[in-house]
Symmetry: D2
Subunit: 143 residues, 4 copies
């Protein structure tokens, strides 16, 4: 069984992600982080939102600190790692880098909710077949 | 019964809608047109996507010709009118203007599809309680 | 001279802001917060990004905690208030509400940078004609 | 000298590109087409928007016909080909396919404009070092 604790997504800045200031609009970093999260799930054979899912993973908190701008056609890397797997939630830590320099650092917490028809929008334990796929990654020594 | 054939949406350009060229990214005009379409539906008491809808209205064609740029904080108007109501589809014509000058002209065709569970993604007659709310608007004399 | 410390933006959820989970994608809340920020600036006669600006205000940190989902056509309010005006940065606090219930709470910090040609991407004091327009708003008693 | 007439971009649907109807929002196809266009330019060593460009390429027309939906995590291909290189404009034809089935067909026309400070937003001849990189691709026999 494949188990994962981190993922590195290579990405290039697209034109429509930039704004009048000539840099990537900050709202895109939250999407980059989520793209890396979903790639992490795929790396262990999971989809975070299969078509007839009985559970879903809405975001309950997300933050970023921005250190450097990204510009059109820049190539960058989104490193996401699992910081905590709780009974009903998962927390990720993210660093966006370009040419080895830190561009932004972020974190994301998602909760597991029951998605069956009529179920309230409320957290529920993460199914074991999902939870057992992920394990916590320690931060890098210099982080 | 309220019946409508057109709608004028007032809108301001948001920062995140602009790109590095300093103008609104062209993909936004399709969203502006759709925002006006949904406001047109609301003006006759309808939602195009109520929560337990049995029909849906996917877009089957959309085009724009762009004449002038829009920039951050520009105020503009999106005029949408119904160009045709068919048995299974609706066609709209749109003009985006700023200070009376044409910024872009577009068109949008949407089909009616069956959304009940298990139904194929295929067109179906527009329910009469929807179709009877809309009537074709002739283009303005100078258009 | 008009001075402001907060702004309340009324907004409706647009279809393109929702995702497959049937709710507003979380990345949109950062845009809603920024839309309210720019409306706050306009309320005192300022643009945060005039065409030949000598200073700019890139985002250096932004976070949200999400409490309830928003859905297509929901009407909601974005309340932004100034939490701190520093020499080179401004911090805002935000609450998104719907029908009086808290949907999300967030914060945003922006820095002032020199935008003159050739200037490095580095913080600089906020011009007094901007700083004097804003004053800190205390949180509401029950917040 | 590298010359190109077409490009095939492989892409996966991201979660934030989908909407409440469970499919990719139609506005994204215009972005997919543009992403493929910019990759086509990069394939001959060009950027469509280098940082100190003297010309720019705003979009003057864009259209799509939609045949099939795309859903979260679908893998698809965007094939863009040059349909016409005029003195002051370029026209592209695009087909989006998934598993060999046509998802959407589109077209895009961009004009060349003078971007030097103070220049009006008006078309100008495409510089020869750009025009000579592109040649028209005939449509596929069965298209």
């Amino acid at each position: 069984m494949r188990v994962a604790s981190e993922y590195r997504l290579r990405r290039r800045v697209q034109f429509h992600e930039t704004d009048t200031a000539g840099i990537v609009h900050f709202s895109w970093f939250y999407r980059y982080m989520e793209e890396a999260e979903h790639a992490l799930w795929r790396s262990v054979g999971l989809s975070i939102a299969p078509r007839h899912a009985t559970v879903g993973f809405p975001r309950v908190a997300a933050s970023f600190d921005f250190h450097r701008p990204l510009r059109f056609e820049d190539e960058f890397e989104v490193h996401i790692r699992i910081a905590r797997v709780g009974q009903k939630s998962i927390r990720y830590a993210t660093e966006v880098t370009k040419d080895g320099h830190s561009v932004a650092t972020g974190s994301l917490t998602v909760a597991c909710i029951d998605k069956r028809p009529g179920a309230p929008f409320r957290s529920t334990p993460i199914p074991s077949e999902i939870a057992e796929r992920f394990e916590v990654a320690l931060p890098a020594p210099d982080a």
